[in-house]
Structure formats: structure tokens, C-alpha cells
């Protein structure tokens, strides 16, 4: 299987996972965004929202990394610039969810 096919499959699988996760998250975000500190910490530090938020971050940043690399492929002409941009977006897509998950698992009221 060539890399482009693997990338397309990863993109589609993550897309299928992302649709219900995004729906779940936005419904809950609108419910809690203006609530008190304690309510928000309880939301992020208890199950199933603890697991689902962490899972959303992993899948969303993974999907975005693949999607944005497609945009780079289409619009960046210089190969060196494209390579640096792809590395930057991959690093960003690993670090941000990783830090967020560590924080979520350390939240206490």
C-alpha cells in the first residue's frame, strides 16, 4: 500500500470518529462554558468527559495535521518550505494534545 493510500485511510477513519466526538463536545461546551470554575473542573476531571475530551484532542489534531498537510501540498510550491511546514504541523499536533491530556489527568477541584 502506497503512502498516499495509507494517508487517505487514516484521514477517513479519523473523520468517521471525529463527527460524533465533535457533536458531543460542542453540545457539552455550550452547556458548561459560562458555569463556575468547580463545575468546569468537575466536567473535565470525571468520566466519560475526561476520556472523550482526551480522545477528541488526539483525533482532532491528528486529522488536522493530515488535512493541513494536504493544503500545504496544494498551495506551497517550494519543497523545502513544504517539508518544514509539514514537520512543524506534525510536532504541533503531537505536543498540544499531549500537554492537554496531562493537564486533564491532573485536574482536581
Amino acid at each position: 500500500m502506497i503512502n498516499a493510500t495509507k494517508k487517505w485511510i487514516f484521514l477517513k477513519v479519523s473523520s468517521i470518529i471525529l463527527v460524533p466526538l465533535m457533536a458531543w463536545f460542542i453540545i457539552n461546551l455550550v452547556s458548561i462554558y459560562d458555569k463556575s470554575y468547580v463545575d468546569i473542573v468537575i466536567f473535565f476531571s470525571t468520566q466519560p468527559s475526561k476520556f472523550l475530551t482526551s480522545f477528541l484532542m488526539i483525533v482532532a489534531f491528528f486529522y488536522s495535521s493530515l488535512s493541513i498537510s494536504e493544503i500545504f501540498e496544494d498551495y506551497i510550491h517550494d519543497e523545502k518550505v513544504k517539508s518544514v511546514a509539514n514537520k512543524a504541523i506534525t510536532t504541533f499536533a503531537i505536543i498540544i494534545p499531549l500537554i492537554t491530556i496531562i493537564i486533564i489527568f491532573n485536574l482536581t477541584t
Binding site: 473523520s15 463527527v19 465533535m22 460542542i26 459560562d34 463556575s36 470554575y37 489534531f61 493541513i68 496544494d74
Partner: protein, 127 residues
């Protein structure tokens, strides 16, 4: 060695239609959503500062601008959800006919507005 692979043309040279509008919007909103998710990660990180410091963030989120941002985020998430579903149908080989593509494009545009209202009303337990 120069790369002679074809690249996407500038979007200005074609006349606009529903498909091209949804296509470019899907990409732009995807980028907006990942920026928004990064800000949500920052919001979660700011919880570590404690309850007293969180009052400033709560004040902002309860302001008109805060509510407007959340409503905008609800719309951009709704748009991406519907647009992803449209793409998934294409991946299974459905919806390529010109008229179907136009109808599903319109469903994405107007459906995202309806979905935003429904999510907001449901989440705020207005119904």
C-alpha cells in the same frame, strides 16, 4: 530539481458556485476549528491557575463577546460535521450527480445554521 507537479490554481480565476464555495469553506473552517481547539486547550490549561484567577476568564466568557465566540464556534463545528458527512457519502460513491451535489451543499450551508440554533437551545435547556 524543479517540481513540475500541477498545483491548485488560485481560487479567484473560477466563477463561484455552491461546490467551490463549500470546498474552500470546508478547508478554511477546518483551520479555524483547529485554532479554536488550541484555544480550548489553553482554556483547560488556565484551569490550573485556580478558582480566583479563573474569575477573569469566566467574566470574559459571560460577556457578549464570549457568547458570540461560543456561538461562532458552534456554527463552525456544525458546518464541519455536516461537510464531513457529505464527504463521507462521496467516499462511499453517493451524491456525485450535479443536482445532488448542489442540494447537499445547500444542506451544509443552511443545515449548519439550523444545527447551531438547535445545539444552543438544547445545551441551554431552552427546550
Amino acid at each position: 530539481m524543479s517540481n513540475n507537479n500541477p498545483l491548485s490554481p488560485h481560487i479567484q480565476i473560477y466563477s463561484w458556485n455552491i461546490s467551490s464555495l463549500i470546498s474552500i469553506s470546508h478547508r478554511i473552517i477546518g483551520v479555524i476549528n483547529i485554532v479554536a481547539l488550541t484555544l480550548i486547550c489553553l482554556w483547560i490549561a488556565l484551569l490550573l491557575l485556580g478558582e480566583t484567577n479563573y474569575e477573569y476568564i469566566k467574566f470574559f466568557l459571560q460577556s457578549f463577546l464570549g457568547k458570540f465566540l461560543i456561538l461562532g464556534l458552534t456554527w463552525s463545528f456544525s458546518f464541519q460535521i455536516l461537510s464531513e458527512i457529505r464527504h463521507l457519502f462521496w467516499d462511499f460513491g453517493y451524491g456525485f450527480e450535479l443536482i445532488t451535489s448542489k442540494i447537499t451543499g445547500l444542506i451544509v450551508i443552511f443545515g449548519s445554521i439550523v444545527l447551531t440554533i438547535l445545539i444552543y437551545l438544547y445545551s441551554k435547556q431552552i427546550f
